[in-house]
């Protein structure tokens, strides 16, 4: 099936099986390996990308769904002003250990702050609840999001 969609700001036309997972399209066809596979069933959030500005699990999206959508991966996000702020905040807060969950958390945090630039602690917990981290116990990730809100005043 021929599909046209926007990937990190550029229009792409691909010809793939309509059930091929966006996760595989990104990792294998476009070599965008910042998107990780931790479960392949929507449970871990390591594969989270933004679709039209909102976090989605790329392992759950069939290619046929993509037509006309705009996809942003960590590769496309990292150089943006908000991407930079989140990057610094995650480093400063110590939110990264093994790092396998991290790109997904960054995208989830971006989606959360897009929707709610000033979340309460409970809303931060809720907003990140689709992303598993087995290393950090999450505390430093919460802190990173609060730090990003502080540092990135007005950006979201």
């Amino acid at each position: 099936m021929k599909i046209e969609f926007i990937l990190n700001g550029e229009t792409q036309t691909i010809d793939v099986h309509p059930a091929r997972r966006l996760l595989d399209i990104l990792r294998e066809d476009f070599h965008l390996t910042a998107v990780k596979e931790g479960c392949g069933e929507g449970e871990c959030g390591a594969c989270v990308v933004l679709m039209d500005g909102k976090a989605v699990n790329s392992c759950l999206i069939p290619a046929g769904y993509l037509e006309g959508k705009s996809i942003l991966t960590p590769e496309g996000f990292k150089e943006t002003p908000r991407g930079q702020i989140l990057e610094e905040a995650f480093i400063e807060a110590g939110a990264v250990q093994c790092g396998f969950c991290t790109p997904g958390f960054i995208m989830a945090a971006e989606s959360l702050l897009n929707e709610n630039p000033n979340p309460t602690n409970a809303q931060i917990r809720e907003g990140l609840s689709g992303n598993l981290c087995r290393c950090t116990g999450y505390q430093m990730i919460f802190k990173a999001v609060r730090l990003a809100i502080e540092k990135g005043e007005g950006l979201w």
Partner: protein, 697 residues
């Protein structure tokens, strides 16, 4: 600047940006993909294997392709790399299918049929005990337990249980292999490059200089990438040799859960003798650990289990007996804490429950029994270092407001406290046997660390580089780590047993001190160091007498929980942890370890239900096996009290595994406190609580 002041992690940026290369992110020219065909029977003879016709470029690899010995080398090398005539658990690897596309490989593996003849199987620890399927058995004692029991004023017997736990490192297991100029290269996610090299030497029947093992960025491990990667490294290497292609073997989550090692389930039986003053004078501990289908490194897990079974307490008379049992289930293996969290849970809850049953305050009761400097440990080794457990307890009580909270207890809310320790480094004479080696290389104004100890998320790179940079007064950017490639680095030992900072960091510190004094000697030179065991430590591995560990790290946890009276859902509100890890090399990195360990421990104690039914895991994906999310973790407060250790770098002891033992007994004591019922088994689930409550009613 003091060493403890936190710096930015050296690997954070590339991980955040998704630029770090995990094994699944690597690419090779014309790789073949591997898929493992596994046993569907818990115990059976393989009668016949029916293979489909293979398309061009596809291969089947079986035991006959193994050039060397068909055993995965570890402590007890009993696990066949690919099954021979018999399978002992569901998920055991039998064949490998290799092909140029995942689709082809999948199609072929779907068409393979295996005929089995089922054999009798043992599924539970109790059943295995009845049939006496023992892999290993140890015992030791202290004082005169029999006399002490005879003189005891009161005897209490009890039994405790802990369940399976899956690591859920976020990056599933994966390896790749290729052959270049007659050298086999294996790349992958792992804790112990030289364990893998060892296993390959034996499986491939080739010398280690024809094998290179290269660690890729490792997405979490927790013990799950200690011995298990050796197995799949053998699979990839054998396949690369057989097919003359680079090969990839990356597990999906479900496959990973089904076949990778888990934490040993346990049953621990106690008989305690108390005197008139309600002091436990004698304790008999019988530990049963479920090793699963193969023995592997279960003997050393059990050793740590039995040597940790007295936890922070000094019982004058003691009898300890431990056994590993075979069941026809997925093999158990290394998991953060390595056998200790099980026995510490049992003993902490025993102490808690005895106190409550006698109407005593659990904390006061525990404090009457704690070890002090100069006391003999359970194996009679002298506790050489200062024990600051009372200070840790005081700090934890203050930070958590424990006293106030336990007095003003509300309905369906509870608070609990746990005391715990972790023996630093290898058990017994392990360090002497391994003799870790490091090299520090100066080239102009830069220094390179050559070690095999890996970064797997715990922060080893940052901490070890910091030790050297701090000693040499260099900026951290000038101090780097050589990639963990067995062709390039010496064997500083496996990244296990919380030994990296204390032992390997200690060697690096000594080398850095020497380098500092010789700095101007030359532009380029190397210093190498080999581990030397401090002379004052003694250990007899036959009688289990002496210092089972060079020193201990200590901790106190206070947990606060609430229970939903309608659903019995447990909510862990807050955990306070205070620790003595000698001295923090980097406080934030350390905090990260403690917070992650608390979450993992709390998960094991409450959420993480994993059962097997007739040898088949009931929860085998992340939909059914639940680890804590951001909504489940408590608020965590951590603090550290400095107690520098003479033989650790800057006074550092061990840290990574310690927190795993603290949260479970603290959380369970809090639940017990909330409902006023004794609890003896984890995970504690709402199902279990409702059952117990109805029983009480």
């Amino acid at each position: 600047m003091t060493i403890s002041k936190s710096i930015k992690r050296t690997d954070a940026r590339e991980k955040i940006r998704g630029e770090a290369q995990y094994i699944g992110d690597m690419s090779f020219d014309n790789p073949l993909y591997l898929k493992t065909v596994r046993s569907t029977r818990p115990h059976a003879k393989i009668l016949d294997i029916h293979l489909p016709d293979l398309p061009e470029g596809c291969f089947i690899i079986d035991k006959s392709h193994i050039p060397g010995k068909n055993r995965m080398r570890t402590v007890v090398s009993d696990h066949p790399i690919l099954a021979e005539d018999e399978v002992l658990y569901i998920g055991q690897p039998i064949l490998l299918v290799a092909g140029p596309s995942r689709e082809l490989v999948y199609q072929i593996s779907e068409k393979i049929r295996i005929d089995y003849e089922d054999l009798p199987a043992v599924f539970t620890l109790e059943e295995s005990e009845k049939q006496n399927c023992v892999f290993t058995e140890y015992s030791f004692s202290k004082g005169e337990p029999d006399t002490a029991f005879a003189q005891a004023a009161r005897i209490i017997e009890d039994e405790y249980r802990t369940g399976l736990q899956e690591h859920v490192y976020l990056e599933p297991q994966g390896m790749a292999a290729e052959v270049k100029d007659d050298t086999v290269f294996v790349y992958g996610s792992m804790q112990c490059p030289f364990y893998v090299e060892d296993a390959l030497t034996e499986a491939l029947g080739r010398p280690s200089d024809k094998i290179r093992v290269v660690q890729t960025t490792t997405g979490g491990a927790f013990g799950g990438k200690e011995e298990f990667p050796s197995l799949i490294a053998c699979h990839t290497a054998i396949a690369a040799l057989a097919t003359h292609h680079p090969v990839f073997l990356i597990y999906d989550r479900d496959e990973d859960i089904i076949c990778s090692t888990k934490r040993h389930p346990s049953i621990i039986r106690y008989k305690a003798g108390l005197d008139d003053n309600n002091r436990v004078t004698v304790l008999d501990i019988d530990l049963l650990y479920d090793a699963g289908a193969y023995c592997g490194l279960s003997p050393v897990v059990l050793q740590r289990g039995i040597f940790s079974a007295t936890n922070v307490y000094n019982f004058h008379h003691l009898k300890v007996h431990g056994r590993n049992f075979r069941t026809h289930t997925v093999p158990s293996g290394a998991f953060r804490g390595f056998g200790a969290p099980q026995s510490i849970f049992g003993t902490e809850m025993l102490m808690h429950n005895i106190a409550v049953s006698l109407g005593l305050d659990p904390l006061e009761f525990k404090m009457k029994h704690i070890l002090k400097q100069g006391d003999p440990s359970c194996t009679g080794g002298k506790i050489h270092d200062k024990v600051i457990l009372p200070e840790l307890v005081e700090r934890a009580l203050d930070l958590s407001d424990y006293r106030q909270k336990i007095q003003k207890k509300k309905k369906f809310a509870g608070v609990g406290i746990s005391l715990f320790l972790h023996g630093c480094g290898f058990t017994g004479n392990g360090e002497q046997l391994i003799k870790g080696k490091i090299i520090l290389r100066k080239s102009k104004d830069r220094v390179v660390l050559k070690i095999s100890s890996v970064e797997m998320g715990q922060g080893a790179d940052t901490v070890l580089r910091k030790i050297v940079a701090h000693t040499l007064d260099l900026p951290i950017e000038k101090v780097t780590c050589e990639i963990r490639d067995t062709g390039l680095v010496p064997d500083s030992g496996p990244t296990v047993a919380s030994r990296t900072t204390m032992i390997v960091g200690g060697l690096l510190k000594t080398a850095a001190d020497e380098m500092k004094s010789r700095w101007n000697e030359a532009e380029d030179f190397e210093i190498s160091k080999v581990y030397h065991h401090p002379d004052f430590l003694t250990w007899d591995n036959d009688t289990f007498q002496g210092n089972a560990y060079p020193t201990y790290s200590w901790g106190v946890n206070v947990a606060e929980i609430t229970i939903d009276p309608v659903t019995y859902d447990i909510h862990i509100e807050k955990v306070t942890g205070v620790y003595d890890v000698g001295r923090a090399i980097d406080e934030r990195a350390l905090r990260g370890q403690m917070e992650g360990g608390i979450a993992q421990g709390a998960g094991w104690a409450t959420l993480e239900v994993m059962k097997s039914k007739e040898g088949k895991l009931v929860q085998h994906n992340l939909t059914d096996y639940k680890v804590p999310t951001s909504m489940d973790v408590p608020e965590i407060t951590c603090d550290f009290i400095d107690n520098p250790y003479e033989f650790g770098p800057f006074g550092a002891k061990c840290a990574g595994e310690l927190p795993m033992s603290g949260a479970p007994p603290a959380v369970v004591a809090a639940i017990s406190n909330a409902l006023g019922i004794p609890l003896k088994e984890i995970p504690v689930t709402p199902e279990m609580l409702m059952e117990l409550e109805r029983h009480e009613d």
